[in-house]
Structure formats: C-alpha cells, structure tokens
C-alpha cells in the first residue's frame, strides 16, 4: 500500500494527453467519434476506413488506429502470440477483436481474451494472490470499458487515487479459484471485473466498507461508478453494464440510477470491492 507518487505522475501525464485527444479526436478525417463495436457480432471496420499503413492517427489518442482496441492493449506484449497471447496487433491498422464470452459468467470460458494492461490511464491492476498477467483477461468490451472508466475517472475524480482493478478472468476463463480464498463463483467468461471502493485517506489498498466504514469515501465511489456509466456510451467503450454487485447494507448508494435502471445488486460478499458485469458482448448463445 502506498501513494505511488511516480505512478501517479505518469497517470497525470496520460490524463493531459487524454484531454488533448478528446479535443483533437486524433488527426484523421475518417474518425467519426463513435465506436464500431469490435465483438464478433458487430462490424469490425467502418465503411470509410481511412487508414492506410502509415503514421496517420485515425482514432483518439488512446486508440490511434481507431479499431476500438486501445493502443495500450495493442502494445501489451502479453496479448502477442509470441508471448502466449492471442493476437498480433498493429497500432497502425485495424485489428479484429475476436474475443468471445462463451457460456455464462458462472459456467463459461473465454475465447481469445484480451489482457488488461497492468497500468493505464487512471487505473492500476492489483494481482492479490495471482501471478502477473494471470488474472486480468477479458472480452475486448470489458477491457475497453475498464480503460474508458479509467480515463473518465482521471478527468473527474476529486482525489489522486487511481482506480484499482482486481480480478477479471483467467486467460481462457473457466473456474477462477483454487489459490487464495474465497474462490469466484463467476469471473469465468470475461465479462466480470472487481474494483476496489475508494478510501477517504486517499491511499491505494483494500477497504471493507462495512467494517471500515469511517474510511469509506462514498462520494468518490459514486464518481467512480459514474465513470463506468460514462464509459458505457457508444462514443466510448460501447459496452453495456448488466449489473454491479455491492453490499447494499453498507454502500450508501441507491440501487437505481437517475434514469431508473436498477444496476446495483446486493451481495454480502462484496464488501471490499464492487463487481462490474457487462452484458455478454457476443450474445448469450455461444
């Protein structure tokens, strides 16, 4: 646990670049400012693919080729086939996101998952009991939702703690447990992610909002949740949040959003993190 000043400085620099990217929307006329999906059920390329091989920027700063797979993910060697990943990304070309959530969160697998970069704009990944790059695989939609939420969090947060991302899924999904208790009942097909609540002391690290309520920053946690709602938009990650598991007895946030969506669901096992689940991006029938 610590403030990690150096990493925060990097995060701030990334935030400045992010704002620049938002303003300029990259440097390519072909970028429409929308996200074309990227799941197997969605079109992978826009009709006006503007990008020849070359240095031109076609997307926003975090996705220079505008293919909805972030530049960070494309540069993340863990995703490269040479390092055991499933892709040979090219940051100057459109790449295909072939990840699929197969089955259901409590009984499924992850096909061609994308590894979340361990540290990105506005977020950090912590491994807990797991090895590096073992516990942070997801569908492309989930990964870019987290990355998008990190960008929004960096823009709007009131204190300097990065969003702390815990477990996603294992590399090929399946049962996620067997090392440190408690095991996950879900997290098996790349649509689930655990995020720590925010602390009033602004430190990174675990927080149990029931037993350590005096240190629980409800306002910051709402901002963080709203960062996920911002990132949900078609112009950003274009991933649809299905549910967010929290301990409703302690979280101090209504289950419904202002538009009436019931997103927060009570689970007493979610006192030290909330759990974001997206809708299966490639549909429930595989």
């Amino acid at each position: 646990m610590g403030t990690r000043r150096a990493s925060l400085a990097r995060v701030h620099l990334a935030g400045a670049l992010l704002l620049l990217g938002i303003v300029t929307q990259g440097g390519c006329d072909g970028f429409l400012g929308i996200n074309w999906g990227g799941g197997p059920g969605d079109p992978q390329k826009p009709g006006n693919d503007c990008l020849p091989v070359g240095p031109a920027l076609c997307g926003p700063i975090w996705d220079t080729d505008g293919d909805t797979i972030s530049t960070n993910s494309e540069l993340n060697t863990t995703n490269n086939t040479a390092y055991g990943g499933f892709y040979t990304f090219d940051i100057t070309k459109w790449d295909i996101n072939s990840s699929q959530a197969r089955g259901v969160p409590a009984n499924g697998t992850l096909y061609n998952g994308i590894n979340l970069t361990d540290q990105g704009t506005g977020y950090l990944h912590h491994t807990g009991c797991d090895f590096v790059d073992e516990d942070d695989w997801g569908t492309g939609h989930l990964v870019r939702l987290i990355e998008g939420a990190g960008r929004w969090w960096l823009q709007f947060r009131e204190h300097a703690t990065a969003m702390q991302v815990g477990d996603l899924s294992l590399k090929s999904g399946g049962f996620f447990g067997g090392r440190c208790p408690p095991d996950h009942d879900s997290h098996r097909n790349g649509v689930d992610a655990d995020i720590r609540y925010l602390r009033k002391d602004h430190l990174e690290g675990p927080l149990n909002i029931c037993t350590d309520a005096a240190n629980y920053d409800t306002v910051a946690t709402i901002q963080l949740l709203n960062s996920f709602l911002d990132a949900e938009m078609p112009t950003d990650a274009n991933a649809h949040i299905d549910l967010i598991f929290v301990d409703m007895d302690c979280v101090g946030i209504p289950a419904k959003t202002v538009t009436g969506r019931t997103l927060l669901v009570h689970d007493p096992n979610h006192q030290d993190h909330f759990h974001v689940r997206i809708q299966d991006p490639d549909g429930p029938f595989n």
């Binding site: 969160p105 067997g178 440190c180 002391d201 675990p206 149990n208 029931c210 709602l229 598991f245 689970d267």
Partner: protein, 369 residues
C-alpha cells in the same frame, strides 16, 4: 529458511492465534443491565439499524412495554447483525475497534445481561487470519467458528473450523476438512454442514466444479463427505438450498433424500428466487423470499450517460412497506404474502419471524402448507 522450519513457524503462529480465542473479560459490563429471563420471547438487534446514527450498541426490546434497553455498547462499531443462541441466553456479533488505519475485528459473545463478555479471534481487517464465518450450534452455548483470511488475500492462509463452548472456553478442532468456506447448523440431525472450496486442480478448467459438502456429526465427532450440494437445511431436514450471490437468480433448492434440484417446481419467477432466501423457523419446510420488482427494460439508445446519485444520508435503511412471499418447498406453492422488513436486524428465540412494520416489530408465525 527450509520447509521444515517454515512449517514449524506457521504452526506456532496458528497456536498463538488460537490462544487468543479464550480471552475473557468476565467482569466487563458496560451498562450492568440485567434482563430477566422468563417465558417472553427475546428480541434483540444492533442499533442504529437504520444507519441514521452510529451503529455501536445492542438493544433488547421489552415485550411488555415495547421499550428498548441497551445491553452492550461498543467503543467501536458493530457492523453486522447480532446472532442469538437457540435458547436465547447468549448472543454473538462482530465488533470493530481501533483507529482508522489500524482497525481490528473480533467476535463478541455475551449473555443477555451483558455481564459475561468474551472476545474471540481478534484480527486485522485485511489479509490476516481471523474469523470468517460462525454459527450457533450443538445445543445452546456453543459456536462453530471458521477461521481463515479476512479481507483480500495476498497469500494462502489455511482455513480451520472450531467448536467453541462459550461458557467454558473449551474448543474442539474439526480436522480433515479441505478448504472449508461456509458452515451451517442442522438441528434435525445434530450436525454441522460445511461447504468446502472446489479442488484447486479445477482452476482454469471449463465447467462448474462441485463444492464438496461435509457433515460433522457433533455427538459422535464423525466427519463424512456427503453428496449434498448445499448446507442450508430446512428445519425438518427434508430439503436444503444453495445460494450463489453473483447470479441474478442464484438460488437452488434440492431434495435431501436424493439431491435432486427441484428449483423449477417453485411457483415463482427465477428473478424472485433471490439468494436472500431463508427457511422459516417453526415451520417444517417453508421458504421466505423478499419480493423484487421486475427490472426495468434496458433503454435502446442512450445519448447521455446515466448517473448514480448519493442517497439521502438521513433516510433510514428500513423497508416496512416491502412485500415478502412464503413458499412451501414440498409443493412449490405460494402459501402467503406479507408486508414488512424481514431483514431489519431483529433476532428472536421464538419460532417466529420478526418483521418490522410501520406499527413496530411484530413476530409473525409462519403459514402452514
């Protein structure tokens, strides 16, 4: 350090922790209040359950006058609900004390006079070995206590199960359990049922690995693996359920005789079969669920981001207008619907269900199938 030395150190560390269990402060009595024991049902809860004020005391309600009286006041917080021993003589609850950044949790066991106070298994809140789960068992004055890592684990911490006599402090370790996770008491056959984690070799494999369920027969001390798939048995022992919180309908009902999943026979929509189900004490096999409103349909096109808003901090978190539904596990039929908050924290030793209504707390007798 060689493996033998490391094992020795872990063993000594475990014994040191166990040594904390019988810590007793018998003369501690914050309020010196005495509850007369008579035939009136005991009704206790943690205040302020509504969370408008601090949550740091346990009160007992006088059934004659309706007045609440403090029987324990904490220097810290009492974050979860109190549990009452079956005979109503003892209660237990988790207490958290200490300054922010160095908080400790422990299990407090006390009689209803608040005089005999024991504090068990003190630990930090994060990544330390401490109490993970507990349940009253084995008669009236014993607790089954499960220990393991508290909070986020950064290294494997062994789990253990003890049966502790709250009067004498004597403890009995239940050995031979592979990674116990949850424990429940089944009075109908004087046994503890323990759900364990799936085997580690299932990690990363497709499918849904089974969590082994063990039975510890307390009178004989015999431990055996069962074919059951859950640990929450109906009072008559004919049915049991299993819950998976991270599913929208993570409730499964099984027949104990053959472990058949009979969930589909329940006359409720899957969404109503929430994991917050409970057996009604005093009825053979009656389940009660909190009714849920249907989920709003997803808006098709969203042009603006949605928002969460801070709740009103002064709004009490008690729901007297909520509806509940009772279901007969045998036939699957709905027996009754009734209004009130069944999760308002009240605990009683009477074979009834404490329900908080606008008119106050009432002890509801379960419907009969």
């Amino acid at each position: 350090m060689g493996p033998l030395t490391r094992r020795h150190r872990e063993s000594r560390s475990a014994l040191k922790w166990i040594g904390l269990v019988p810590i007793m402060s018998a003369l501690y009595s914050p309020l010196h209040a005495v509850q007369e024991q008579d035939s009136m049902p005991v009704l206790v809860r943690v205040e302020d359950r509504t969370r408008v004020g601090p949550r740091n005391r346990v009160v007992i309600r006088d059934a004659r006058t309706g007045a609440d009286r403090d029987i324990y006041r904490s220097d810290g917080d009492i974050p979860f609900q109190v549990t009452l021993s079956p005979d109503g003589d003892w209660m237990a609850f988790i207490e958290v004390v200490g300054p922010v950044g160095a908080r400790k949790q422990r299990l407090v066991v006390t009689d209803l006079a608040g005089r005999n106070v024991r504090r068990l298994g003190e630990s930090g809140l994060y990544g330390e070995r401490g109490i993970r789960d507990y349940t009253w068992c084995c008669g009236s004055a014993k607790l089954a206590i499960m220990t393991g890592v508290v909070g986020e684990a950064v290294r494997p911490v062994p789990e253990s199960l003890y049966v502790v006599d709250v009067q004498t402090g004597a403890e009995q370790s239940v050995k031979g359990l592979p990674r116990p996770l949850h424990v429940a008491w089944a009075a109908f056959d004087s046994s503890l049922y323990i759900k364990c984690a799936p085997p580690p070799e299932a990690r990363g494999k497709p499918g849904d690995p089974a969590s082994p369920v063990y039975r510890y027969h307390v009178p004989s001390g015999r431990l055996s693996r069962t074919t059951h798939r859950g640990i929450f048995f109906s009072p008559d022992g004919n049915y049991y359920f299993d819950v998976r919180w991270v599913e929208d309908s993570g409730f499964r009902l099984y027949r104990a005789s053959d472990d058949e999943n009979i969930t589909p026979r329940l006359a409720l929509s899957p969404r109503q079969l929430g994991p917050d189900a409970m057996w009604v004490i005093g009825a053979g096999h009656v389940l009660v669920f909190i009714e849920k409103e249907p989920r709003a349909p997803e808006p098709k096109a969203r042009r603006q981001p949605d928002r969460f808003q801070l709740t009103d901090r002064d709004a009490p978190l008690v729901y007297p207008d909520r509806w509940n539904v009772e279901v007969d596990a045998e036939t699957g039929r709905v027996i009754d619907r009734f209004q009130g908050d069944i999760r308002a924290g009240w605990k009683t030793n009477a074979p009834t269900l404490p329900v908080e209504r606008r008119s106050g707390v009432q002890l509801v007798r379960p419907g009969r199938p």
